[in-house]
Symmetry: C2
Subunit: 433 residues, 2 copies
């Protein structure tokens, strides 16, 4: 019978302390983003499927919730938000001074086999910078995300790579863009042999050798030296690829100078097909397990996929469900002092709500109405109130209330007019203990 009460497979009900943790993450993320000059954007949960069709990457494309509305429009539950942000940029934001900084908190959807901490509906906190070619834009999103993670106490390391060298090589050897996307997808899935096979098929043996070689390189300096060797092969793409390499280097150096731990990985390729250059991931240690808690990168020119003019762009998204999981054992919701107001049944109920308005805003408070004082006290005790205010008919007639300190059990009769001051002092006193 209980199966009837379940949410759809792979989705969740978030309640109790976990819901408070999510709200804490949402508000901390927003606060940090705002303090670094990012502005909010709220895009539709549902978009036209075609928005995601081109560049979300084949894994995501195959795991989207796609459906038709009653007029036959093909819609999709968003698998991610960047495509929407670029759409809104093209529609309404182009005239703003650049760079444009945007943040969002949004639930996204992927139809995958549910696994531990992978849900079909999941929450992302994202940062995007549009209109800035400089590495500063990449640093701006990365460091803001790091500040958020630092604020909430999530230790993290950066894994940094750059897909431009693959894209440049493949393009030089005549591999078209959608084949590039597929090859990068295979590398992302760690199907290296299949990836190399595909390069061989589409770009020839030499291209396959180059890609193979790059995949085996572990240091940034070695990449740089190898890039010099590739000058001829890359031709007109050489300069741009070198600049992208410098971006990776500058990005990593700046993060290290600021005290962050950074690992370079030539094999890092993220699941989204719109990345064009620098990419990075955040990892955290959860128990013995390294967990990816988000990432991002450059998606310069994604605007052209939607027939817009070319625009520089970079961004990231953090997986808030993963982060919530990392914090789930340590998170303690901030305790707010609580006052229950018990109104006995022979007193007008509006009196209870008048009293609520007298309670200092630092407390949380509610009205409980009952014929039975002991039932009322049982409730205020169960929900962990610090004080219970009791109004029976005799108190009501005297314009007084009985205030019970639930920790000490002491009860005091207080004049209604001096209630705010009394509670303020009680609260100070109880905090000092």
């Amino acid at each position: 019978m209980t199966s009837e009460y379940l949410p759809p497979r792979g989705m969740r009900d978030i309640i109790g302390v976990e819901a408070e943790l999510y709200e804490y993450l949402f508000s901390e993320f927003k606060r940090t983003a705002k303090s670094r000059g990012f502005s909010p954007i709220i895009t539709p949960t549902v978009e036209y499927f075609k928005l995601f069709e081109a560049k979300s990457g084949e894994e995501i494309r195959n795991s989207m919730y796609v459906f038709e509305d009653k007029a036959g429009r093909v819609l999709a539950l968003r698998p991610e938000v960047t495509a929407s942000v670029v759409r809104v940029y093209l529609r309404t934001l182009r005239a703003l001074p650049k760079p444009i900084r945007l943040y969002y908190i949004a639930q996204c959807f992927r139809y995958e086999e549910p696994q531990h901490a992978r849900y079909r509906e999941f929450w992302q906190g994202g940062l995007e910078v549009l209109g800035d070619p400089d590495v500063n834009a990449d640093l701006s999103v990365a460091i803001t995300a790091s500040e958020f993670l630092d604020n909430i106490g999530v230790k993290h390391v950066y894994i940094v790579g750059n897909v431009s060298i693959y894209r440049s090589i493949l393009r030089s050897y005549g591999v078209d863009e959608s084949s590039q996307d597929h090859i990068l997808h295979l590398i992302d899935k760690e199907r290296i042999e299949s990836a190399i096979e595909e390069v061989k098929l589409k770009g020839g043996v030499e291209a396959a050798e180059v890609v193979s070689k790059i995949l085996s390189i572990e240091s940034l300096d070695t990449i740089e030296n190898y890039l010099y060797d590739l000058k001829k092969a890359l031709g007109e793409l050489y300069e741009r690829t070198l600049q992208e390499h410098y971006r990776t280097r500058d990005f990593i150096n700046a993060l290290r100078e600021l005290g962050y731990q950074v690992v370079f990985s030539s094999r890092l390729v993220r699941g989204l097909a719109y990345y064009t250059g620098l990419i990075f991931e955040y990892k955290t240690a959860s128990g013995d397990l390294e967990v990816s808690i988000g990432g991002g990168g450059r998606y310069d020119g994604l605007s052209t996929v939607y027939n817009g003019p070319f625009e520089y762009s970079t961004g990231l998204a953090l997986g808030l469900d993963r982060i919530a999981l990392v914090l789930s054992n340590s998170f303690k919701p901030q305790r707010v002092e609580c006052i229950g107001v018990i109104v006995l049944k022979d007193v007008p109920i509006s009196v209870g709500y008048r009293i609520l308005k007298l309670i200092p805003p630092s407390f949380k408070s509610f009205v409980y109405r009952t014929r039975s004082l002991s039932k009322g006290l049982e409730y205020t005790n169960k929900v962990d109130c610090d004080f219970t205010i009791i109004v029976g008919s005799s108190e009501y007639k005297q314009n007084k209330v009985l205030v019970k300190n639930m920790r000490t059990g002491v009860q005091v009769l207080v004049d209604m007019n001096s209630l705010p001051e009394f509670l303020f002092l009680q609260s100070k006193f109880s905090n000092l203990k």
Copy 2:
């Protein structure tokens, strides 16, 4: 070409000041709900269609986004959240001390013809109380919503009704529940003649006369007197109907005692089929137009529709899009003082981010990197910064920065170490002006 950049028909992109207004509404709603003892709940955006099939009401049922997932499960984008809350209650919350107070902020979906301020995706802020038969539960949600509306400056009046008298009468005359739902739906749509016809058809001429009569009554006292006349016709339902009537009376009296404006309407019937008794709506005046900005009511026993045990329940939802529209002309986002840090290209970019960490948290701040100081100042001026901090190579070498007050144009060379104190004082000084 621009049509390519549009969101799905009837949905919206929320940006700029409007996005800040939404975030303000979200956070004020949460703050108020928490301060009155409500706890957050986050339910899936997508539910099994069958959750809404039974009791969402025919208008909503016909305007849901329904689709199958890849395994053939029939899903729906939630048209409202109460059904999900009851599902979660039955699944996991039953053992909590009652009443249980929950709040949510959630986007919901209805496939209707788009109209002014009616969107296919819309935002609701909701409050629910489970496990309390007393009118105090109804007051608790209503007054908390009023406090939220008062806090954000939205004047509102209550329209209050009660569907139990219709349901009792119809049931007494043998009209089954789904016909009751349909008749109430017709009344809600102001198709009074069709409603009466339907009552005649299903319950007979006498039932139609009674319903007709009740629809014509304008005062609560007249309803009460008429109820006494109906004692025989109502039979065993009489006592419960009378109690529901007293609930309406007590609800209205308490609200009036607290200074709220309340209008009783026997014709008020809301679109959701799960209401069983007291119902109410919030109206606000926007220009010449009275606008409904939300409402709620008793849905005792909705739990049994999902084969759970009977539970008392009441709640409401506010339409945040409507409220945003009401506030759209008057809302001014809280201005946060802004500092732009311009790092010239011969200075390590990490220096800019070191400086950000020195800036007091009351400011918003960002790093702008450029070869051209004038381009940098043009940007910090455009985005309305109060101060610009400039680091060129000569300042960098001296461990100093140049601080420019963007209002006065005055520039001061400041030692990096005394920057926090300097900014703190500057900010105090500029606030005093």
